[in-house]
Symmetry: C2
């Protein structure tokens, strides 16, 4: 008799799981139906800033696969359908058809919870004024694109994380005066230590993006639409405000159904993406993942993790046996031609996890120093004192800098020491690095400190 898989949430984790399950089980064996609250499935949220910047057009370019394409592969997808309740005992979900405004119940044998994350919404007066936006959904991206297109003015970005900086770049590229306001003492402070964060800030300011640190937004002012953003001691004129205050796991449904949450506030899963409930799976921004360095659960909202964990869930739902190997939180971005990346633990997190650490820093150039396109590159290698084991790394610099982080990710993945990485046979030609890549030099510095 055929089984039924219900997928809640139609983006990376959910649709990866659906696709993998379908590859392994025929339509006769497994019916697959996915419900998605928004109008879109399987889209690249990470690409949205580049639509806002006018680099990626049309918006549909960000959609990897449409509901029709899923249908042709035997996966039924319903957009504008919100699952509003999970009943684990009776094994059904209640779905709200948002267009028809009606509710119905539908049963499942297997349930994939991929509800993702929701933006953190500050309680600020004026938050609902016209001209105040988030950048999360494709609809948000379309709105911001229209605004950016209408021509330059003042844009205030609230929040100094990845989405904040990428949106700041998008408006900057279209001639807007951009101010980034953050409560933090630096930018990207969930991934970079403050020292490299300062380098990023210097670079943002050098291209004309103003950065205001340690400043909390108190109110957003305007009558019909936004006119300014008020912080303690200063008010910033604003024709558009983008709130980029990060996100938290969307776990209301799961929690109401009695599905266990972990210490991070996200859904607890094992290394097969199983929750504690038979036939109930979860992956992506709403679920925990094991950090390979600490061995502890984390909840990091990255498309890479959602795709991988969703794939694992789908293979297992499909009858295979896949194990999610854990995460390092590797992340990367750029602002104009300045690149930023990090992997593993930040120094503070490592200390909090009980590691005694050293940081091997090196500054040099992206290419051989004599090449005309050489630009500055800084790498910081975090290693454990005594053993030299690499725990994390951060990179900031010009074009060609940031993807070097993958070497550190691979090194940490393998439990490599800084002293070993310092001799690894990496590629060299003058357009690509010095004869000793700055990776080597940073690792060597870390090893020297770690073994001193």
């Amino acid at each position: 008799m055929s089984e039924r898989l219900v997928v809640i949430g139609g983006d990376a984790a959910g649709m990866s799981a659906a696709s993998q399950a379908r590859r392994r089980r025929s339509e006769d064996d497994l019916e697959i139906v996915a419900f998605e609250r928004s109008s879109w499935v399987s889209y690249s949220a990470c690409g949205e800033p580049y639509h806002v910047a006018g680099e990626v057009d049309p918006l549909e370019a960000l959609v990897a696969r449409t509901p029709e394409q899923f249908a042709s592969r035997g996966i039924e997808v319903h957009t504008r359908h919100e699952v509003v309740e999970i009943d684990l005992d009776r094994r059904h979900v209640t779905v709200h058809d948002l267009m028809a405004d009606r509710r119905f119940e539908t049963g499942f044998d297997e349930l994939m919870i991929a509800t993702g994350a929701k933006p953190i919404r500050p309680v600020i007066r004026g938050r609902d004024l016209e001209g105040v936006h988030e950048l999360r959904t494709l609809d948000d991206a379309a709105d911001l694109r229209r605004i950016a297109d209408r021509g330059p003015g003042n844009a205030v970005v609230v929040g100094g994380g990845y989405v904040g900086l990428e949106t700041a770049e998008a408006f900057h590229l279209q001639g807007w005066d951009v101010t980034v306001v953050t409560a933090g003492t630096s930018v990207l402070n969930r991934t970079l230590n403050s020292k490299l964060g300062q380098t990023v800030i210097g670079r943002l300011e050098s291209i004309g993006i103003r950065v205001v640190l340690s400043s909390r937004v108190e109110c957003i002012n305007g009558t019909d639409r936004v006119e300014s953003v008020g912080c303690v001691g200063e008010t910033f004129p604003a024709d558009v405000v983008i709130l980029g205050l990060g996100s938290e796991p969307e776990v209301g449904l799961a929690q109401a159904a009695g599905i266990g949450l972990g210490e991070t506030g996200a859904i607890t899963v094992d290394d097969h993406q199983r929750t504690a409930h038979e036939g109930v799976w979860s992956a992506g921004d709403c679920a925990e993942a094991m950090h390979r360095v600490t061995g502890r659960p984390v909840n990091i909202h990255l498309g890479t993790i959602a795709n991988k964990a969703g794939r694992v869930a789908g293979i297992n739902i499909g009858g295979g046996d896949a194990t999610f190997p854990g995460v390092l939180g590797t992340a990367i971005t750029k602002v104009c031609d300045f690149e930023i990346s990090a992997t593993g633990l930040r120094q503070n997190d490592a200390v909090d996890s009980g590691f005694d650490v050293v940081v091997g820093e090196a500054t040099g150039t992206t290419t051989a120093g004599y090449m005309p396109n050489a630009s500055e590159l800084t790498i910081a290698t975090l290693a454990e004192r005594g053993t030299g084991r690499i725990l994390g790394a951060e990179i900031v610099g010009g074009p060609g800098s940031a993807k070097r982080i993958d070497v550190f990710a691979t090194a940490i993945w393998n439990g490599m020491t800084a002293q070993d990485l310092a001799w690894t046979d990496l590629a060299y030609a003058p357009p690509f690095s010095g004869v000793w890549d700055l990776i080597h030099i940073s690792a060597r510095n870390a090893a020297r400190l770690a073994l001193a």
Copy 2:
């Protein structure tokens, strides 16, 4: 009593060794004197094509450190001094001062042989005509720069290796009609399998560099100076000819002194860069190095290896204890905006070494497919059948492609399998890769074939 280190050869391996020995032993403890046949020490041969192309100027930009700079650090360097004999019994070398044209003997306690490599010189009629060049020394680079500058004409590059292609690019960029003639069935065939070699050829032709395969140069024609290059069945007009037929280890001196050569024809050393003779060391292009995948000695002429092995020798001469960890032969180049890299074993070499192999190939884009600067990228992962252990990788593609090879180098360094690499937490943002990097997809394909 003070000891004396004599270094034969003043480029990467020799001067790395000298520098490291000096860091560890004072001038009172160790006198260091280096003899270099040419006019230059410590220069970047790899940077020469970019001087020819006019990108790096002046020529001196390619010199990392001058004899005067070495002198100020207590390292005596004599250029235009050729060591012509090593006497191991009496522990001295005979030096020919090329400027004064006189010979003298000088003693050593420690001897570092870093004689490097010499170009393979074909026996071809007309080889000594004016306008026929190699690109090995800085003087060669200066000559070719002057010729390239004199304005466009026909350039014929003989040889399809790295130096050949980089020189072809240099002349192409300055408006010359460039033809690359090689006896091989592909280009870069010491590092790329023929399939990706064909991709490179397609790219060269698309930018207007003609590639003639399987064609042996029979003669170089001209009266005062070169006029054409004659191959079987076809003659190519030539205002300049660059011979890039590879290089062989420069071991004449060592051999004459009775220092053992290995199966590759280069000097046999242990993992501390010691020859079989007490106090006699060697490193760089003239010495063997252990390949980490096969465990067998190889002789690969790369600045990366020379620098690392020279450093190891110098640390050990200085009283430290460094072990050379072996090589993968990681190499990289570019021709205009097309990038090429490889690491580990080629398919043919792996088979010759007794491996049963599979190749997981993947073609995609350098960035997310929807980004405006997305360009094609192909990665081939070579893995061992049955285990999935990664043995090698090759990459060709647009900007941002080739440095990905460092991930494979790090993976192979750690004995990683393709199935493990396929899940590694690599960095993703749309300007840098797809959400699954093509590394993942290529590794996944290799794993599937290896474990089938």
